[in-house]
Structure formats: C-alpha cells, structure tokens
C-alpha cells in the first residue's frame, strides 16, 4: 500500500465536516496526485449525504454528485483519489457494508467521531484480493 500525504487544509475540512454532521455520517471526495509510493491529497470537497432516512450509520452519494466529481477532476487536471466518511461513535475501521460496495483504487478515509469530536483518522484501500489494507497517513 502507498503512503498518504494529506494536505493540512484537506484534513481539517474532513474532520470539521465529520464533527458538523455528528451524530450523522458525512461524506466527501478528495483529489490530488500520486507517484509510485505516495498519494498526495491536495483537496477535499464535501458532498451531501443522500441516504434517505437514518444517516447515523449510513451514507450514500447521489450518482449525479459522483459524475460531477469525475468531471471536476478532468477539468482541473487532478485525480479523484477516494472517498472520506465518518463513523460516529465507531472506530475508523471499515464495516462489512463499507467493504461490500468498495471500489478498487480508491482510498477510503474514515473519521471516527466520539461525542462530537474527531478522534481518529485512518485510511484503507482494497488490495488485489479485495481485502481492505490500511494506508499509512503521514
């Protein structure tokens, strides 16, 4: 797995978003570039959680918001590197549900929020055998 280098502004945006939507889950995309060993996350962008009903344990991105994100990457010569979301009152570890819908290539950043405060940020990516492996942030 590659290392993740997250721009401070992008990291703070994800943490603040996770705290602002607490006790619901938040979601967003992030963009940047990568070389052979490091993914550089340069920008994070909030996306509405389109999950109908209870959002405390679920998030969903509307397909049109996804298409918009792909278009943004193409127009700005950047790469859509993955998705962040929050786990209110749960650890920053992917759930079975996260695994079921995970895409190859994307980094999945999870922000664990306890009592409304962001306490842990971890990132995961599917390996060749479709198992999540942690990507080291730093």
């Amino acid at each position: 797995m590659k290392k993740l280098d997250i721009n401070q502004e992008a990291l703070e945006l994800m943490q603040k978003h996770a705290e602002a939507t607490y006790p619901n889950e938040c979601v967003g995309f992030f963009y940047g570039k990568e070389d052979d060993t490091i993914r550089f996350i340069e920008q994070a962008v909030e996306v509405p959680n389109s999950k109908e009903g209870d959002q405390r344990r679920r998030f969903e991105v509307h397909p049109k918001d996804y298409m918009k994100a792909e278009r943004y990457a193409l127009e700005n010569d950047t790469t859509l590197l993955g998705v962040y979301h929050s786990h209110p009152e749960h650890p920053a570890i992917p759930s079975e549900h996260d695994l079921k819908v995970a895409q190859p290539f994307f980094s999945y950043i999870i922000v664990s929020v306890k009592g409304g405060k962001s306490v842990r940020v971890r990132s995961w990516q599917l390996n060749e055998t479709n198992v999540f492996e942690e990507e080291i942030i730093g």
């Binding site: 298409m67 790469t79 290539f105």
Partner: protein, 92 residues
C-alpha cells in the same frame, strides 16, 4: 460511436483511458464492446448472468438508464454513457 466515460477506480482496467468510443446500438451492446476490448473490467460491471451489477449505475447524459429502457436503451453516435459506481457505506 457512443462515448463511455470510465470512472477513475476502473481506469486501471482500461490502460488508464478515461473514455472509450464504443460500437453498439444499445447501452448493453456498447458496454459489451467495452468488456470485449478490456476483459478485466467485466467482473466490475457485470454479474455472472451478464447483467449490470447492483452497485453499478449507468447514465446516458443526465438520465439514469433505469428510467429509460435499461440495457436496451438506444444510443446515438453523440451519446455519452457514464458508468457510475455506487458510493455508499456506513459504520455497521
């Protein structure tokens, strides 16, 4: 030929091409043309019965093909087909 926009996570199966000009008179046939050209992408788009996987949505322009005729939806030469992976999850 209609254009298929390949989502970023699946571009490693299309030699990093962001789009594909496909032959076919329907969405299904155009996607089949894509999977014949890049066989490794097939398992990410279609199930064992050759139907679109549950976690994949397909749009023509701004319209979900589910609101049209699904895979039988006709395409024109200037149609833009977007493959949209489901982005969802949650803590439990």
């Amino acid at each position: 030929m209609a254009k298929i926009i390949i989502p970023t996570p699946l571009r490693k199966f299309t030699q990093n091409q962001a789009s594909f000009e496909g032959n076919g008179s329907t969405v299904g046939a155009t996607i089949e043309n894509l999977t014949e050209t890049y066989p490794d992408i097939k398992q990410h788009l279609l199930d064992e019965n050759g139907k679109l996987r549950n976690f994949v949505r397909v749009y023509i322009g701004d319209e979900d093909i589910k609101a049209l005729q699904n895979e039988a939806t006709e395409v024109k030469d200037d149609s833009v087909i977007s493959i949209v992976p489901a982005i969802a999850g949650g803590s439990l």
